[in-house]
């Protein structure tokens, strides 16, 4: 489990080459200009990154969760924002592949796998985030269609995506009354809020998704009525491992930059790396990232095999990895002194980008809630 296969090494090498050539050189400009590089995403899709763990019959890459984690870590070394968006997109593609019927799979999965079409995951609402089971967007059956009303908040990719996977309420029975729907872009009544101005993740849009009498065919319901919350949470298990892998990648890149900088920068008559306090900071970053990576691999393995402790391990991996990644980036900024605070050195962007990983896909407090409850239930 701890030794990568030849195939995995080749995959990591290819993704690293792709990211170094097509993402890293432009990441700073995309962040500055708030540019969402859909053309580059389509290139990533051509290589198989749009449906990494989607089955092969409708264009998926049919790879493992560990493969996915390795890929996201590598992409994130070049740009956490792009890596994280691709991770959300993969979550949507997988949910349709896993819970959709063959008609739905045939209709959506191929374009999502090539990333010619992008997908958004719509759970959060202005009034409910952590307590997602309390969501209030409504879907009412009317003949052979559903009519959706409500607003989704903080939706990644909104305004650009071709399909919105919306969790909406079909009954007032808490989490058991939630159903998942596929809402195509361009449906009448579907609109988007303004681009949110934010601390990081600037190379991908975050907007409200507003539904006013959005009418979609019954055939766009994913799974049965009442199964939406389970589908949303199952998607998030993988999302958590992947976002954790993105944090490890960003943190690793900040660490690598720090090692190079401390070797080169001189103060008090010698390179800074000669200061043991700073060497220890490097040691801590290195150790915390390796712990996180180990946890990510273990959770990915549990997810792959569908073991009973999947939820717990995915929550732990997300908690450990998003904290380790942010801490490494923040320490890297300190180690770079004043230069770390300048955009040019690329460190402050990593700090800004990784900060939100501790908040979304279930905040790290919610991860503790999940882990704690399971620990007590035992």
């Amino acid at each position: 489990m701890f030794e990568l296969t030849e195939d995995q090494k080749a995959i990591v090498e290819m993704v690293a080459d792709f990211a170094a050539e097509n993402i890293a050189p432009y990441a700073a400009a995309w962040d500055r200009d708030h540019h969402f590089p859909v053309d580059v995403l389509a290139q990533a899709g051509e290589l198989g990154m749009g449906g990494i763990y989607v089955r092969e019959d409708f264009g998926g890459s049919g790879m493992s969760r560990l493969d996915a984690a390795l890929i996201f870590e590598e992409l994130s070394k070049a740009d956490p924002t792009i890596a994280a968006y691709i991770s959300i997109h993969n979550m949507v593609a997988w949910m349709i592949d896993r819970f959709g019927n063959d008609e739905q799979r045939a209709a959506w999965v191929p374009q999502l796998c090539t990333m010619e079409m992008l997908g958004s995951y719509c759970l959060t609402e202005p009034g409910v985030g952590s307590d997602a089971a309390a969501l209030s967007t409504r879907a009412v059956l009317d003949g052979d269609s559903y009519v959706l009303n409500g607003t989704k908040q903080f939706i990644s990719g909104a305004g650009t995506s071709g399909v919105y996977l919306v969790m909406a309420r079909t009954a007032d029975t808490g989490s058991a009354g939630i159903t998942a729907f596929l809402v195509p872009d361009g449906t009448e009544g579907l609109s988007f809020g303004a681009l949110e101005a934010k601390m990081g993740w600037n190379a991908q849009p975050t907007r409200q998704v507003v539904m006013e009498n959005v009418r979609i065919p019954v055939g766009n319901r994913l799974g049965e009525e009442g199964t939406g919350f389970g589908i949303a949470m199952k998607g998030l298990n993988g999302g958590r491992v992947n976002i954790g892998a993105c944090s490890v990648g960003g943190g690793q890149s900040a660490l690598d930059k720090s090692v190079a900088y401390l070797k080169e920068r001189e103060a008090f008559g010698k390179p800074l790396i000669g200061q043991q306090a700073l060497l220890f900071a490097i040691a801590d970053m290195e150790t915390e990232l390796e712990i996180a990576r180990t946890m990510i691999w273990r959770a990915a393995d549990a997810l792959e095999r569908g073991t009973a402790d999947t939820v717990r391990l995915c929550a732990m991996a997300k908690l450990v990895a998003t904290d380790a990644g942010f801490n490494a980036a923040n320490t890297a900024l300190q180690l770079h002194g004043g230069y770390g605070y300048l955009s040019e050195y690329g460190i402050e962007k990593i700090v800004r980008d990784l900060r939100v990983h501790q908040i979304l896909e279930g905040s790290n407090e919610i991860m503790r809630l999940v882990i704690g409850r399971l620990a007590v239930e035992k």
């Binding site: 195939d7 080749a10 290819m14 198989g48 990494i52 790879m63």
Partner: protein
């Protein structure tokens, strides 16, 4: 149509490359082996033909130590159909004459209509090998092309230097060499990477290919490039610009 591409595994130019002073050979442990960039472009050209016509068969041929298998596998993951690896301890330190003879023998077995090679490589290079191979196989060679048109019965291309351009054409079987002016190679996709190990790679030894296995030439000595000496420093006392101009002019740089 069958296209054979001569790919060469070389030390990564992004890293420090070292010659072993004892043997005069490249220290292959010192840096990561990669497919020479120009031969990757040669492969890309072959794969572009295959994109248009799926019946095209692309075979990559390489001579080199055991880890050359990695480069062959990468070529297969990019889309080549099969590989031939000329591998033999007897061939360590092979010179041009020997390398060309071995590769020619391996190519003869493929029965390829078209052989594509790079015009030169980034490691020990003479830029002679493809011409020597062409001679062994009595093939017409279009060398150092900047563009190529691969037709069903013939290949044409353009060659360019300071004095002009040449339009050249040869009917199959033929050999061409491409320059860095050709498009960059594609990335292998995941399916390609995962499928590469199911594609056939034939390993051929020197004995199987026949003939003399010893290099006719020996490297007598290698010496390090002398360390760079510090350049002249101009301190600006008002005349710096003029001094700079004189310096550049004296070296015919302006």
């Amino acid at each position: 149509m069958k296209i054979a591409v001569l790919i060469k595994q070389v030390p990564d130019t992004a890293e420090e490359r070292i010659l072993d002073p004892g043997s005069g050979r490249v220290d292959r442990g010192a840096s990561d082996p990669v497919i020479d960039e120009i031969t990757e472009r040669a492969l890309e050209l072959a794969l572009a033909v295959k994109d248009q016509d799926k019946s095209t068969e692309v075979v990559v041929v390489s001579m080199g130590p055991a880890d050359t298998a990695k480069s062959i596998r990468k070529a297969l993951s990019m889309g080549a159909d099969s590989g031939i690896h000329v591998l033999d301890d007897l061939l360590a330190g092979a010179d041009l004459v020997l390398t060309a003879r071995m590769l020619a023998a391996a190519l003869r077995e493929t029965g390829a209509d078209l052989v594509i090679a790079g015009n030169e490589s980034t490691d020990g290079r003479a830029g002679m090998l493809p011409a020597m191979v062409a001679e062994h196989l009595s093939l017409p060679m279009l060398g150092s092309l900047v563009s190529a048109e691969i037709g069903s019965g013939s290949v044409s291309g353009r060659r360019q230097n300071e004095s002009g351009t040449q339009e050249v054409v040869a009917t199959y079987p033929a050999i061409i060499t491409v320059t860095e002016r050709f498009p960059e190679a594609r990335f292998p996709n995941f399916k390609g990477i995962l499928g590469a190990k199911r594609k056939p790679v034939e390993t051929l030894s020197a004995t199987e290919l026949g003939g003399e296995t010893r290099a006719a030439s020996t490297v007598l000595e290698v010496s390090k490039r002398p360390a760079r000496t510090a350049g002249a420093k101009i301190t600006d006392d008002g005349n710096a610009a003029a001094e700079l101009v004189d310096f550049l002019a004296s070296r015919r740089l302006i």
